[in-house]
Symmetry: C2
Subunit: 214 residues, 2 copies
DNA sequence: TAGATTGTTAATCGATTAACAATC
DNA sequence: TAGATTGTTAATCGATTAACAATC
């Protein structure tokens, strides 16, 4: 497989390509040139060709790219059809929102357990999965061997929790807390969504624009 | 102001610096060297000095950086103490989660209105703010002049909505939908959080690791 | 064949890192 | 003063863009 050569900056663009190609496909467009795609996506045609070439010549000179073929190929690289066993920690508003993202489309993950420390919501169903008290986490993991954990709780108790999860065989994390999992567990595969950081970046953009005007 | 020189890659690191400095400050640490901070954050000391130097020599040779001073300076650049009038569109789980992020700390924003097309939740209170039906959006904006909108609805109706919002004076967006606001409105300031893209990136990481092992 | 468009290399650009002189 | 650590320039690295030969 040529996949190992793909740099992380290219990988980060793949989901967006995937979405655009899905959209084209749904609109019955079966063929597209790098030039036309560049106009739709706001990238250079050169970059698009460069990116697509990373994972093996899927275009055809004089013709362009076959949309469904390219769509499937990118889906394959992203492993959207795999079903990695996943658990969710934290069933608040964020946890519920995130759970529905996992179910919304083939994402590569299969949510099999939801945990929360709030006893009041134990037993409630979210997308057909019962919320379990966090005390059952360890037994559940031993019985079901999930490999991925989605973290939707505050950073406070994260050290003990991630130590435990790594010990129990969790290899990858979708991390919505500000706790730095990679620093404590360099072997873990972590994709973090730092909402407060994102908001502060927007604050800079919004306010510096104002400064330029004023 | 020297701020205009700061490149976007540096800006994107500022919120994380801010968090780490806040933590140091809360632990009573008033002074830190680039070297010590680099170990805590997993960056090179060189990059830290380079970054901090972008916005004016705040360190002292032979001593290091003054933590509260640097913390305040970065907060100032990010405009965390401003109160940009903000509205939230979409009061589902994601909207509620995101609203609480805005209130959690000084983020630079002040949430003044919440809108949803679901009439069943009109009038419900979220963080002391009533949910209004989306039909009231236009009048509300004319009366209150918000400058920022947080988008927590699916992409379907986004074209009409963003056209309207831009017309009503919204300049910046915290965008959780997959709709491409910048393509349609190049003048808009957009910070997007693409949850599905993030999840697919994790899928790649999780599954390619597996491929390497197997 | 002529026209179109990719694949691929070379050139450019920008970000990160290394090094060390400046200075507290 | 000596030691420590920044500020700042130069070197390196990697990502993006430009260009054009290959080829459908």
């Amino acid at each position: 497989m040529k996949d190992n050569n793909i740099s992380i900056s290219v990988i980060k663009r793949l989901p967006r390509y995937y979405r655009f190609l899905e959209n084209l496909k749904n609109n019955g467009i079966s063929r597209i040139s790098s030039n036309e795609l560049s106009e739709r996506m706001g990238l250079t045609a050169s970059q698009i060709r460069h990116d697509f070439n990373c994972f093996g010549g899927f275009g055809q000179q004089g013709y362009g790219y076959n949309v469904p073929e390219l769509y499937n190929k990118i889906g394959e690289i992203l492993c959207v059809n795999s079903e990695q066993k996943t658990i969710l920690i934290g069933a608040g508003n964020l946890g519920k929102a995130v759970a529905s993202k996992i179910f919304q489309r083939r994402s590569g993950f299969n949510l099999i357990g939801i945990f929360d420390k709030n006893e009041a919501i134990s037993g409630k169903m979210i997308h057909g999965i019962p919320v379990r008290h966090i005390n059952y986490l360890e037994n559940f993991c031993r019985d079901n061997s999930p490999v991925c954990a989605v973290i939707c709780i505050p950073s406070n108790d994260m050290k003990e929790l991630t130590d435990l999860l790594c010990k129990l065989g969790i290899r990858s994390f979708w991390n919505f807390s500000n706790y730095d999992i990679s620093m404590a567990h360099p072997e873990a595969l972590v994709e973090s969504v730092h909402l407060t950081d994102s908001l502060m970046t927007l604050s800079y953009l919004t306010s510096s624009e104002e400064a330029q005007r004023g």
